[in-house]
Structures are given as C-alpha cells and as structure tokens.
C-alpha cells in the first residue's frame, strides 16, 4: 500500500505518474484527446472522453503494483466549465480556457467597469478564458441552459465526482473561475448577485490536500484499485507546476515555456495591479499565485522554423543560425503575437510582426529576432510581478523552449537574472503527489519538495548583452504601443474576408 498516483489533466492529454511512497517515480503514462472546434472560437472537450483516458491510465498504473495505490492526487488544467443538471445529467461539454466565444462580453465588461471589479475582487484579468465570462455568455446565448444547470464545475471536479460521488473544488481551481473573492477565499456574493448566479450552484471549497474520500466501489473494481484508495482533492496545474519546481515563495520566479508559456511567483499576500497585467489566485491567506499566461512560446518558434527555413530544418539548425548574429539582431524587432496574446498585453487581436528590416537583414537576423521577441514578451509578462513583488534572486525555468544553452543564456541576458534550469518535467504530478503526502499526514510541509529537484545548472547574465537588450527593449515596447490600434484593424480585416483565409 505504498504507492501514490499523481494525475495531470492537461488540455491535450492526461498524464499519470506512479510514485513510490518515498517520492521516487516508477512509471508514467499519457493519453491524448481531441479539442472540439466546430465553430469559430469554440474549444471544448468531451468530459467522458477525458474520464475514459484517466480511467485507463489509473488502471494501467495500478496493475503495475497489483492495486496497492494508497492515494490518487490531481493537477488540472484551469478555467474549464461544465454544467450539471437534474439527475446528474451532464448538460455541456467541458468548455476549455482556449474557448474565445465570450470575448464580446469581455469587451463589454471592460467598457462598463465590470471587468475591473472582477479583477480587483477575484484577481482574474479580463479574458474569455475565465468561467465568469463564459457564464455571462451562456446566460445571454442560452438562458434556458443557464437556468437548467444545477452545478457549474470544472474538469477536475467532474473527474473526482465520477470517482467519489462528491462535488468539491479546491481554492486554486476556484480562483481560476473569476468568482472567488481574493480576500475572503469564498465565492464572491456581490459578484454572484451581479451575474444572477445562485451560490448553491457552485461547488463547496476545500484545501488542495483535502482528502475527498474513497473511490466508489464500482470504480475500485473497474480500475483495479483497492477499497482503501483515497482521492486527494489536488490543485491547479499552474500552482502545482510552480511549487513543483521549488518556487514556494518570492525568492524565485518560475518560467515555463513549452508550446505556450507562463511566468509565476508566490506572494505572501494578495496583490493586484492597476493595469490588470497579472492574475492573482489565492492558495490560502498567506500564499497567492501571481503570474501571467503567455500564448506565444514554442508554438511561435515552431512557426518560424517552418516559415523562415522549412520543415526539414531542425530546431538545432535554427538555433545554430541565430547564434551567428549579435545580441539585438542588428536592430530587427519581432513581435510574437501570432495567436493574439494574453499576458502581458491581453489583446486577442494582436498579431506578429518583424519591424526594422534593412537590406543587410536576412534569415539569421530574422531567426535570432524571433527568439529574442518571444523572450521580450515573457519579460513583459514578468514585469508587473517584478514591480509589485520585488526582484527575484533567479528564474527557475522549464519547458521545451529552454532546451538549448543558447535560449537559456538569452533568457538570462534579457531578464538580467540568473537562470536555473529545472530538469524535472513532472513538476505538476510531483507536487500533486506531495499534496497527497500532506493530506495523509505523511509530510508536514511542502519544503521537502525542493530536495527532489536538480537545480545545479545555472546561467548568469552576460553584461555586454544585457546592455544591448536594455537599449532595444524600450523600443520593442514602444512599437507594441504604436501598433495597438492597427493590430485591431488588421484582425478586423482578417475577419472581414474569412474566405481569403481558408
């Protein structure tokens, strides 16, 4: 009875990691599932399909140790929304963070001041990812459905409900709805009144390490578990991947750059920003997860690799070429907003650009400027945090984009901070496993997590490059400001001629 499964319910796949009681990883399994995108801006998932994937992973991992699973704990994608009706009927798909159909309502809320209230009270920046805006959208589009739903939950709550029969959410997931009051850590009554949502329709709240209960008999058998297997409530992947790389307080910032990216920090109190630049999600009354999610990470690198060079060129080829150009790409600036952007500019209409071309700029400068642009934008996402929490001692970085020495050094030079590379790519499930140990009283603090982490690889800023970047970064930002309105018009043009974009 010595094993724990850390499950991560991602947007494109679920992953399970089997840990021994001492925290050592034994095995890992992952099963992908599709996004449903049948309308413009729609991005849904079928919760039953995700539940099937989760069941298969648990079954296979449990079999590996003859069912001796003492607990299953959860890391989960944030901001999903599922409506449950009478008789436990599931009335909607899981509407994911990537669904943009409420963007019109976000724009309205920005205009009438509601968005600002929501941000100040709940720490949720104005963005269609947030369930609060999705609820407003459903209420407007489909008032009948809005009335029929008895409980609004997210994908983690759904899975745990299926396994245990209990509907409950943790503070970090609740924070991701935009409905949780930052200061009281309870559902925000005033806000619920404003959007006419009965608080009874939201799940109860508990701490991440809360032991929800045992797995229902049906699933004990079906998944090859045992009658004592406990379900731990778990938390959001944003929070867990932060503590999972050893960022437990404001000493470090966590920077993850995979397909998309995020910069995150833990502050000892709630901090919001007059410019809505970062989210502030409570964990408990002395820990707040602050940060900015960034759309344009490795996905832009991938685009640039294929567009500038071609599908046959590897990521390494790209970086080797970029490396031949000095810092600043000879004054060529790249905006990475190919997919609009969340932090730091929160503008879904933003677009990408190469700016400042002269005749002696060719592919190598374009390549380097792409890498620099992606990192300038990450720096922008971290800017509000540095201003409000203070300077960290170092960045702790993870993700596919930081695989090369070159990019790691680039980050150190652009942030003017040491960069500590964290090898562990299980940060979310590792931290989920620690939550289980806390919940089962086998550990009494998260500090021990840090012991599991290899942080020996450090890159220090090169001051010559730092100087160049400090000259060009203000121009990058100014150009961003310059183009704000025009990006909007370009996006409108692109929408006006949809047939031209098939």
């Amino acid at each position: 009875m010595d094993y724990i499964i850390g499950m991560d319910i991602g947007t494109t796949a679920s992953k399970g990691v089997l840990y021994r009681g001492n925290g050592k990883k034994i095995e890992e399994l992952s099963i992908p599932y599709p996004l449903i995108q049948e309308q413009v801006d729609q991005a849904e998932e079928d919760p039953q399909v995700i539940f099937n994937a989760v069941q298969k992973i648990i079954f296979d991992l449990s079999k590996r140790v003859a069912g001796k699973i003492k607990a299953i704990s959860w890391s989960s994608q944030m901001h999903s929304l599922i409506g449950i009706g009478k008789d436990n009927r599931v009335l909607t798909n899981s509407i994911t963070w990537a669904d943009n159909r409420s963007s019109q309502l976000v724009a309205q809320a920005k205009e009438n001041g509601l968005a600002q209230d929501i941000y100040q009270q709940t720490g949720m920046p104005p963005h269609p990812m947030a369930p609060v805006y999705k609820l407003l959208w459903i209420k407007e589009e489909n008032p009948k459905l809005f009335a029929q739903v008895q409980k609004w939950i997210g994908i983690k709550e759904y899975i745990i409900w299926r396994l245990t029969g209990t509907i409950v959410t943790d503070t970090t997931m609740a924070a991701g709805t935009g409905l949780l009051n930052l200061h009281t850590l309870t559902w925000d009554r005033k806000l619920l009144d404003k959007i006419e949502l009965d608080p009874e329709k939201l799940p109860n709240l508990a701490k991440p390490e809360y032991v929800v209960g045992k797995v229902e008999a049906e699933y004990v058998q079906k998944l090859g578990l045992n009658s004592e297997t406990k379900i731990i409530l778990g938390a959001s992947d944003g929070y867990l991947s932060t503590i999972g790389v050893g960022v437990l307080d404001k000493k470090y910032f966590a920077l993850n750059v995979g397909t998309s990216g995020a910069v995150r920090a833990i502050a000892p109190k709630a901090i919001v920003d007059s410019k809505n630049r970062f989210f502030c999600y409570p964990v408990d009354k002395s820990h707040y997860l602050l940060g900015g999610p960034v759309n344009n990470g490795g996905i832009v690198f991938e685009w640039a690799r294929k567009t500038i060079f071609g599908p046959d060129q590897t990521a390494e080829d790209f970086i080797n070429v970029a490396e031949t150009v000095p810092a600043g790409s000879n004054g060529l600036i790249f905006h990475p907003y190919l997919g609009g952007e969340r932090a730091p500019i929160w503008n879904a209409q933003a677009r990408g650009s190469f700016i400042g071309l002269s005749r002696n700029h060719t592919k190598p400068q374009m390549a380097r400027s792409v890498l620099e642009g992606i990192v300038f934008n990450l720096l922008g996402a971290a800017r509000g945090l540095r201003e409000k929490i203070g300077e960290p001692e170092a960045l702790r970085v993870t993700g596919g984009f930081v695989r090369s020495d070159f990019v790691r050094q680039l980050i150190a030079d652009i942030f003017n901070l040491p960069v500590v590379v964290i090898k562990n790519d299980q940060s979310g499930t590792l931290a989920a496993m620690f939550l289980a140990q806390l919940g089962l009283n086998e550990e009494d603090s998260l500090d021990k997590i840090v012991k599991e982490i290899d942080d020996s690889k450090v890159y220090f800023p090169n001051q010559k490059n730092v100087q160049v970047y400090q000259d060009i970064i203000p121009i990058y930002r100014e150009v961003e400001h310059d183009l704000d309105q025009s990006y909007d018009k370009i996006a409108q043009f692109q929408k006006k001629y949809p047939k031209l974009f098939e």
Copy 2:
C-alpha cells in the same frame, strides 16, 4: 551625316544609343563605373572616369557609321554636384544624389523653416539628394573649398564642358539643384543670398533642345567624330524618361520601377503641396515635371527573393508562389522601407516590416505581401499627384519590376487604373534624340515621340481585388504613421551599435 547619338549618363553606368535620322535604333553600348563610398553616407563618382566611359561609347558608336554623327544629345542623372576652381581645376568628385552627408542640414532646415521656403520656391522637397543642401553642408564642413569654387555644376554640365568648352545647364537639370525659382525659371536670388552663394558661380541656363555648339577639335579627332557634330544640351533623365514613354501632359502618369522607382506626371503649371510630398521641376512655363522618387522598388523584391526563399529561387518562382495567395495577403502588411524612403514619406530612417502575422501566414503570404507593399508605397508616392493634378486615364509603366503579368495586374488593382505597359527601355535616350531633332529644326513638336511607342498591352483593374485593397491600404498607411517615431529609434539603435552591423 544622318545619325544621332542619345547618351544617358546614369548613376551606375553610361549608355549610348545610336539612332538613324528617322529615329530607328541601330546600336546600343553601356559602360559601368563605380560609386565611391569611403565614408558613411558618402556616394561620389569620379567625373573623369565617367567622361572616359562616355568617350569610349561615342568613339565606338561613331566608328560604326564612319563618324557620320550629326548630333549628340543627353539624358542625365539629376542632383550631382561638382566644384570647378580657378584655371578650370576640378576641385571635387561628382557628389551624387545618393550621398546623404547633408542629412543633418536638411533636418535643421526643416526645423528653421528654410526647407519649406526652398520647397515652395523651387519645388525641391527637403532631402540630402539636392545640391542646395550639399552646398550648405560643404560651406559648413569645408568653407575654404566653398570659397575656392568658381563654378558649381553637375555631371552633364561637366561632360558637355569637356567636349565643347562651354558651361551651360538646361532648365530640367537646374531644377534638380533646388536653386531654380519655379515661377521665374531663373536662379532664385533670395535663396542664393540666404546661402551666400554668388549667382556668378552657377551656370547659364538654356532650353533642353539648345544647340550648345560643335565638339572641340581635340575631341573630334579623339572620338572619331566630324567637325560638324553638334552637342545638344539635353535634359534630366527624370524628364526625358517621362516624355519618352509618351507622358506629355496630365492625361497619363509615368511609373517606372527598376531597382528604385518613380512616379511622374507633367502638369501645365507649377503645383506645390502643403505636405512636400512631390517635387515640382519646371521644364518651361507651361510644363512642370511633378513626381516622387521611390527608393524601394526591385531592390526590395531582390532582397525578399533571397531572404524568404534563397538565392536559387528565381523571380518567376517567387511570383508563382505569391500568386497562390488572395489579394490582401490574408491581412499581412509589408513596409518596403529597407533603405529608408524618399517619396512619399521622405524619411531616411524608415525601415522595413512585416506586420499582422498569424500562424497561418507562411512564405506565400510573405511573398505576396512584399509585392503588394512595394506597390502600396508607389501608390502613396502617386497620391499627392492625383489629388493635385487630377486622376490620369492610365498609368504608363516601365522597368524590371513590371516584367510579369502578375505585377502589372497588381498595379492596376492597387491603383484602380488601367496599366499600359511600355516596352521601350530606351525612353531616356529616345527622348534625348528627339530633343536633338527639335534643336536642329528637324521636328517641331514632341508629339511625334508617341508614334515610336508600343502601347498595345493594357491591364484593367479587377474590381473584386480593388475592393480588398481599398480596405487594407488605409491600414497600411496607419501603420506607417504609427511607426514613424519608432523607426527613428530603431535606426538610432542600429547606428549606436555599428560594430554589430558589419
């Protein structure tokens, strides 16, 4: 004695065309020479080297017809400046239009209002190409030289002086100095006073068809001419290449796009613009050459071909790929200002950009947007003319950039005007030859020039594309405005780190 040589003194080469008396071309010869660029922004040529090239061409063409040359007439690059001292000593190189060393003085003149005066009185937009600014620069940098010079002339005056012993310039070349009064068609006394230049130091003025005189005995012999060979004064290449494609009045605009480009028209009176958008160079009191010179033509296409695709891809490959994308390049905008820009934005610090990238933009959209961007900028250069002279019936187009059906149609769609393709690539020398016939009283009007021109190939605008362009062009322009200040800062950054740009 039936032959005429039309000579074109270009920036990179001189070209001579031998014509029979009836206007038919017999032979053509061209000899290149180098630019001298030893300092930043310098662009000079050795007048003796150019004279050598001219002699060689005349010698070879004359030999072809046993010296039976009745006249030699001239088309010439504009804006060059050469200082002649005592005893006919040549004190400077020919400082060409491409020399930017007076840009600081242009900026000053813009600030203190002198530039505006110059434009209003002489039709010369504020730009370092103009001899008026070069003189101010020499006066400041090298007052001793400024005092020593007895005559300031251009390259055509220099060559004719060497051949005939006479120093004289024509109205169209004089207009290119920025010192000729638009209304009186004489050197502007007020302006000369202001810059402290003695009017005696400028050449006498005559009409383009003026017969300067016979070739001096020394050169009759050396060049294998005969004692009756006449030198006709000739005119600027800008004027001659305009009438040489049949643009004799405001019915048509001439659009030439080779390495660089220009749009030109002939107006019946002097017209200047409150925004300095176009030049206005007098020919005589009822013909004014209006237009805008554009830096970024085929040279940008060339850059894009190599940068986006690679040196092995041909211009045709590029165009074939661009053709697969609909009008508007799926909302991707390209600014072609790789080499700063003259008309229509008159900003040497401007730079190139791709703006509006999303993930479904790849090479084909980039390719088409480059072609569109080059043409949007040409449209901008023509805009002031259309507003002030009125809409032409069609464009008459020439140059390497308009070689393909695709680009010709693109111009028709973007300008929303019929495009008449003119095959004759000798427009300058052909018109120079006509000047000789006028000077020798063999013709009495330029109208006959039109007979020599094949204008049978016409492209009409496609209204579906016109609509798309009319939506995206205002955004192109807005972005230009947005980035005005930032382009300046980028250019400064590029200058601050010159070592990074070797």
